[in-house]
Symmetry: C2
Subunit: 352 residues, 2 copies
């Protein structure tokens, strides 16, 4: 099954619970927008593209209890969108998906009534989900040129099928190379504190049969310095107009270490991750999560009682460390102000 | 109590079990050299200076069962030394302490008989222990110049009292600054996989009342890039003649990130950590430990069954990233070939 699936008959969103993987395959059923918001906050569904689509389905669920009056219907859906919007501040795909859904809701409810809007929103959420998978497959095809046969690839966090509706962004590139018969090997950063690498990326690669070695985050530099890593590919939660990349905490360190060792550092992300309204990474809000998620691992305390941990969930990698950005519209390179603006404009033209 | 204490009456070495901290304060009693070797391999005692002194006491324990004949006595002690020497390959203090003990054993056994040698070895082990504490206090005093009031200090792993007989090397510098009334704050890298930072450094700083924030290893770069870190100080397991530093895995990454952000990166280590017989870091053996220590945390599996992890326990930081090396003979700077050789020569002169 996919990361998320909408059951139209039961009017429910089913999510593969990512807090329980890899040891248990458990599904979460969301019947309301609030259920979806809670699943996003609790990291049961995570990954920028996946939470965008999950939030879209959250609005579909909200239409179930919305009033029939067009203005009230719009208000009801907008309130649900506000709750979903506040769940996680860094990934822009969430905002992007909600904005697309709200624009459709307003337009259709006004013109054709709320029943038509309900159905249009469900249709749009399906479209967003299908677009996501298609974009990932195109990224994989474009990224293929960057992954030579025999390459040792390093990745951080999980930008795989689980971070998207299916196939993955950064892991989509890895997967495309593997499916093309290239003999690759992946170094998987475990990615503290939530261990997305050890729990999720390792699980996906194991299922795909891609050779891998799990490492702690602090080993990445060591293996780079020994000449064991040929390229890095990671996902993104938001890309500013100048090419600065917000992604899972630790990405910045990986990028600096790759730069210092002359190793290409690639970012794979859909156009919806690019936020041209934000000039640079300095303007991207960084989510702070709880100390507890650091000082406990699987419920086991690892530090003395009373010790407080910092927990920025993301960091910003300046564009100067980014060799290229793989999108569904091609591989973008510096100067990013221009290449990103062109790609976003191209995508808008296609969508219009 | 200290990291290790010798009970002359019971002829036993007591170690504070560092695998059980911070949740339990448990002692391990070693009655034989093999007990000590096992405690070193199992990380119940760790830290380059501490394992050097522990191994010295291991030889004292070996004398208990040594034959009275001088040649056989020497052979017996040498065999025990070989076993201890093989426990951990990277830290040179272990080799250094064993070599000093063996030289004394041979000299005294030959000249004054084995009973005198027994007592001379016990005396020398005590001297090594006292020298260690005195060296750390001197490092603290020299390092004081490097830690301004209000400084945010980042440290990796544990180079504190627990890594030595008492007081600590890198944490000795932190402690000296704190005791001098400077208002400092420490970012503590948790230091996967063994979590020496979260478990041991946090525990020591808590007891000393030094303000701190625990972070995952992959957050260090983020806080450096935000201007939150003023200096880095770490310990060392072996320093090559050219100033390359072998230390806990992840140190290299911290050094590169500090360099990239214009932050001074200091190493604090006794002269016994300098190995002028090794030209550069490329010649320092890096201990490989088990995959299991990575894929399980406190006995809880964090990765899918069957996933293998790499586990280099140390890495090498090239001398070009090292701002200065704090020793008990002063603060050494580049060119390290000269400053290290001078310091080692000076120490030999004093010891002779």
């Amino acid at each position: 099954m996919r990361t998320l699936e909408f059951d139209a008959q039961r009017h429910a969103l089913r999510l593969l619970d990512q807090t329980r993987l890899p040891h248990e395959t458990v599904y979460v059923t969301c019947n309301t927008a609030e259920d979806v918001a809670q699943a996003i906050r609790g990291l049961q569904v995570r990954g920028a593209p996946a939470i965008g689509v999950a939030a879209a389905y959250g609005l579909v669920l909200a239409t179930r209890t919305a009033p029939a009056d067009a203005a009230e219907f719009a208000q009801h859906v907008e309130r649900a969108a506000e709750d979903l919007r506040r769940t996680r501040p860094t990934a822009v795909n969430l905002q992007w998906a909600l904005d697309r859904m709200l624009a459709r809701a307003r337009a259709v409810a006004q013109r054709d009534g709320t029943e038509a809007a309900r159905s249009a929103l469900e249709q749009l959420a399906h479209t967003l989900a299908e677009e996501d998978v298609a974009a990932n497959r195109r990224m994989g095809a474009f990224g293929l040129d960057l992954v030579p046969d025999g390459a040792n690839v390093l990745t951080h966090c999980n930008a795989g099928a689980l971070a998207t509706v299916d196939y993955g962004t950064a892991l989509g590139v890895v997967r495309a190379a593997h499916e093309a018969g290239r003999h690759i090997h992946v170094y998987v950063d475990e990615t503290r504190p939530f261990l997305q690498g050890a729990r999720l990326t390792a699980w996906e690669l194991q299922q795909l049969g891609v050779p891998m070695t799990l490492i702690t985050d602090n080993m990445a530099g060591h293996f780079m310095s020994r000449g064991n890593v040929d390229l890095v590919v990671v996902g993104a939660d938001r890309i500013a107009a100048n090419g600065d990349v917000a992604n899972k905490i630790g990405t910045y360190s990986v990028a600096v270490l790759a730069h210092e060792n002359g190793i290409p550092f690639y970012v794979a992300a859909p156009i919806s991750t690019i936020d041209v309204s934000v000039a640079s990474g300095a303007d991207i809000p960084i989510e702070e999560r709880s100390s507890r998620e650091v000082v406990e691992i699987a419920g086991v305390p690892i530090a003395p009682r009373g010790v407080e941990a910092a927990h920025p969930a993301f960091d910003v990698t300046p564009a100067r460390y980014v060799t290229a950005i793989v999108t569904e519209r091609g591989v973008l390179r510096a100067p990013y102000e221009r290449s990103l603006a062109d790609a976003v404009r191209g995508a808008r033209t296609v969508a219009a």
